[in-house]
Symmetry: C2
Subunit: 153 residues, 2 copies
């Protein structure tokens, strides 16, 4: 037994250091990730923005309505995964810290967005533009969230 020996103290210190490093390592590994998590959720929000814009062009009769149901479906599908992309508390990008300090409200709004776009997709699938039109305003709640939770550019 080496208890009391200086080497023992060193061994203990080494052991503690090793444990401490094990505890810290995952954090270090994560330290490379914030940019990835931000890029990932930005790609989801970009998709929502692009599909919302395509739908707006259709609703304004600026382009043919042939794909109204496809766009509504893409929007609704993307909306189902949008909230999850914000679950890791990674501040930065266009996200305001309020997303995480007011998570209950943020997630409620995101779930309502998912429900509204699902309704829109269902209507567009069943009855095309005419059926989708009255659901648009209730579905595209983008601004209700962006005003509170997105940094203005």
């Amino acid at each position: 037994m080496m208890e009391g020996f200086p080497m023992s103290r060193l061994s203990q210190f080494t052991a503690i250091l090793a444990v401490a490093m094990l505890a810290v390592l995952p954090l270090t590994a994560r330290a490379a990730e914030p940019a990835d998590a931000i890029e990932y959720r930005k790609n989801i929000m970009k998709t929502l923005g692009a599909q919302g814009a395509a739908l707006a062009l259709i609703m304004q009769k600026k382009v043919p309505a042939d794909n109204v149901a496809v766009h509504a479906q893409i929007l609704a599908t993307t909306a189902t995964i949008a909230l999850k992309a914000f679950e890791p508390k990674v501040e930065g990008g266009d996200a305001k810290p309020e997303i995480w300090t007011q998570w209950a409200d943020f997630s409620k709004k995101m779930n309502e967005f998912a429900a509204g776009t699902a309704e829109l997709a269902k209507a567009a699938q069943a009855g095309g533009l005419a059926a989708a039109q009255p659901k648009m305003q209730a579905a595209l709640t983008c601004r209700g969230c962006h005003d509170t939770y997105r940094n203005q550019k």
Copy 2:
């Protein structure tokens, strides 16, 4: 009968002008649209870019793979409507004129892209990341088209 009378000539001219205007009017009506047609197809390409980027982050293990099948499905669905957005010959934006002068090749490549991403979505749906990974390269043929048909930024 007024043939030979100056008024007749004028009437004929008026008639020709009216027909000419009818022929021109659709073009005039279309003249407000190019920006809309370009914005519309840009939103489709943005969606493809964003979903491709999200899939790349997943494949590189930079973010969790939970939604790999969802992203692959959005990509595949969007790919089914991408070609149609280029059917109106509206030059401008990032689109090179070669899209329309080499339409047979462009549409072949776009159809292959739709087929490849459909394969990818099917694999991801059935077997998650492990099944999707080997289909990625064959599916994401973005560059094969962009090199020829998109203006470099």
